[in-house]
């Protein structure tokens, strides 16, 4: 009798959870972010999978069952976006078939989506700002919401009601409401596929990595609201405002994670780090602007029983001593270009480490070099547990034989 999928599911989950708890699992777990790799691996284009959920399913399923990671991700929330974003006329991404050629991954469009003079509006009522200023800017189809009055002004028959609803009859707002309805249908479709994928994967013995998504408050502000340049300059020109905005975003970033986790029933929260990396700000700025609210968020999520899975993108070697300050064995730190061996020294008894086979190695080198790199990772970072094998970041372009080498070698050599 072979092992059942249900037993496999438990075995895989235990392997990862043991590593996160800084214990020694039966072997080094391996779980990458496959990103757009499955698409090309299955002979589809990124454009095809962004619009065709069946092709996306097929590609991810093939990759999942052939490589057998200890945990995977449902690809729908971050791939099957074409119809929804098209409906919303979304401005913050260009994607294959919409501003980019069919064979490349989607990319973010940098912008100052919240203007300097809008800090106060955001601080006083973020929801009102999002609805009437930010949404119309990032969703072309919701431009009509610019016409809305502050909805908080509609209080009772004599205050707001009599005239306040008139604008909902205007052509602009009606068009936006129609777009919302259509977006609702597309969004539900993504949710259904996503849930179904997680179910089927479970039946086949594979847990999902994440049940929710969050970010450092500074990143939310710098990525989506103020833009990279805006956020960087704000640290000099209006330091109090940027700190206040991060504090305002903290409970929001907590709430999105907790709510998503409740729906998915999965406690692991993915948190990619963008603007806090080495080179993107000084250590002093990191301590002043970036870390306080991120630290508070990580601790709050842990206290809520969730597991923050932070991906420290870029190089964060100079941050290691600072980011060490979190509860022991309760989170996961992935590293991209950070000196991961130094990370093991500094963080080894505090937080599980994950990474960091370079994408350049996976894309341009050969299986022998990949195995050599993985050996070093397992020997040094994997010593005594608390380590998960992964690529340095999500990969789109990698030679399948190199990916296979990373998996096969980890399964053979990574046994404790």
């Amino acid at each position: 009798m072979g092992i059942t999928p249900e037993e496999l599911f438990k075995e895989r989950e235990k392997r990862v959870l043991d590593a996160i708890a800084l214990k020694k699992p039966d072997r080094v777990p391996i779980m990458p972010h496959f990103s757009f790799f499955p698409t090309k691996y299955s002979g589809f284009t990124p454009e095809e999978v962004m619009y065709d959920p069946e092709k996306l399913w097929k590609a991810q399923w093939k990759t999942l069952t052939e490589f057998e990671p200890d945990m995977d991700n449902s690809p729908f929330g971050l791939r099957f976006l074409g119809p929804l974003l098209e409906t919303l006329d979304f401005k913050q991404l260009k994607w294959p078939g919409h501003g980019l050629s069919p064979d490349v991954s989607y990319q973010f469009v940098e912008g100052e989506y919240m203007k300097v003079e809008e800090y106060d509006a955001f601080l006083s009522d973020p929801t009102d700002f999002m609805l009437r200023a930010y949404w119309p800017r990032i969703f072309g189809s919701l431009k009509g919401f610019e016409k809305l009055p502050p909805l908080r002004d509609i209080i009772t028959y004599s205050i707001g009601t009599a005239f306040g609803f008139g604008v909902f009859g205007s052509p602009e707002v009606t068009a936006a409401l129609d777009a919302l309805k259509k977006a609702g249908e597309k969004s539900l479709q993504i949710s259904q596929y996503s849930r179904l994928f997680a179910e089927k994967a479970r039946e086949a013995g594979f847990p999902m990595q994440y049940g929710g998504y969050s970010q450092a408050p500074f990143d939310t502000l710098g990525d989506y609201l103020r833009g990279t340049k805006g956020a960087m300059l704000d640290m000099y020109r209006r330091p109090e405002k940027i700190i206040k905005a991060c504090e305002k975003l903290l409970p929001i970033m907590f709430e999105v994670a907790v709510n998503a986790s409740k729906v998915s029933g999965n406690p692991r929260i993915f948190m990619p780090i963008h603007k806090g990396i080495d080179g993107f700000m000084s250590e002093e700025q990191f301590k002043k602007f970036f870390w306080p609210t991120l630290h508070a968020l990580i601790v709050a999520l842990i206290n809520e029983g969730l597991i923050p899975c932070v991906l420290w993108e870029g190089n964060c070697t100079t941050r290691l001593d600072i980011i060490k300050d979190i509860p022991e064995g309760k989170a996961l730190y992935g590293f991209e270009a950070t000196d991961i061996f130094r990370a093991k020294e500094v963080l080894g008894n505090r937080v599980c480490i994950r990474g960091n086979v370079p994408l350049s190695l996976l894309a341009t080198s050969n299986p022998e070099d990949v195995r050599a790199y993985c050996k070093k990772l397992i020997d040094i970072v994997g010593k005594d547990g608390g380590y998960i094998m992964d690529s340095a970041a999500g990969f789109d372009d990698a030679k399948p034989e190199n990916v296979k080498a990373m998996f096969d070698f980890t399964r053979e050599y990574g046994v404790y």
């Binding site: 350049s360 894309a363 990969f395």
Partner: protein, 208 residues
């Protein structure tokens, strides 16, 4: 040379720097001298970046201050202020990739370091690189890219330059998110630079 002005700007004191420039102009100061001091300050900024005292936000802030100074003094300068440029550099983000933050910083740092820089934008088709290089005739080409998809775009761009017979007269440097020396070998470029100051140093080494 005005040490106080140079130090204010090198320390990124935006308001104080600009107010001093305004005062100097009001008192009949020479706009060319002010620009020259700003360039000296930028050299200090570059050195501080190289020694990891300054980081990207500092470069951006220095850029903003420089822009503020230029806005004040440039209208007062007759004709072209261009001091003799050191050499030509063409830069662009390769096909398929739309990222520009890194490329813009490199362009800015090369420009203030005295190079004649032509920035041909983002998602630049291979053929456009070839044509622009033929027209502009740079000594150095910078290929920028943030994503792994840029590996193959860079490789194909370099191959196209080889095919067009342009490669021998060019030094090619690459940089951006996922780039490293592995990628440099793969795309057959001459050098990989990890940041904007590395790009300036490569140009100094190649052009002077």
């Amino acid at each position: 040379m005005n040490e106080t002005l140079i130090n204010l700007m090198a320390d990124l004191q935006e308001e104080e720097t600009l107010s001093m420039v305004n005062t100097l102009i009001k008192e009949g100061g020479n706009p060319m001298d002010i620009l020259s001091d700003a360039r000296s300050a930028m050299e200090i900024v570059g050195k501080r970046f190289e020694t990891s005292e300054y980081f990207i936000p500092d470069l951006m802030m220095a850029g903003e201050i420089l822009k503020g100074i230029s806005d004040i003094v440039k209208p007062l300068i007759q004709g072209d202020d261009a001091s003799a440029k050191k050499g030509k550099v063409l830069i662009g983000t390769v096909a398929g990739d739309i990222h520009d933050i890194g490329k813009d910083i490199v362009t800015f740092m090369l420009d203030v370091s005295g190079y004649d820089v032509l920035d041909i934008g983002i998602d630049v088709p291979i053929q456009v690189f070839v044509e622009k290089i033929q027209e502009f005739q740079p000594s150095v080409v910078g290929l920028s890219g943030f994503l792994t998809l840029a590996f193959d775009s860079m490789k194909k761009t370099v191959e196209a330059l080889e095919k067009a017979g342009l490669r021998d007269n060019l030094k090619i440097m690459i940089g951006g998110g996922q780039m490293d020396d592995e990628v440099r070998k793969y795309v057959r470029a001459d050098a990989y630079g990890k940041d904007a100051v590395a790009a300036v140093n490569l140009c100094k080494q190649w052009i002077g």
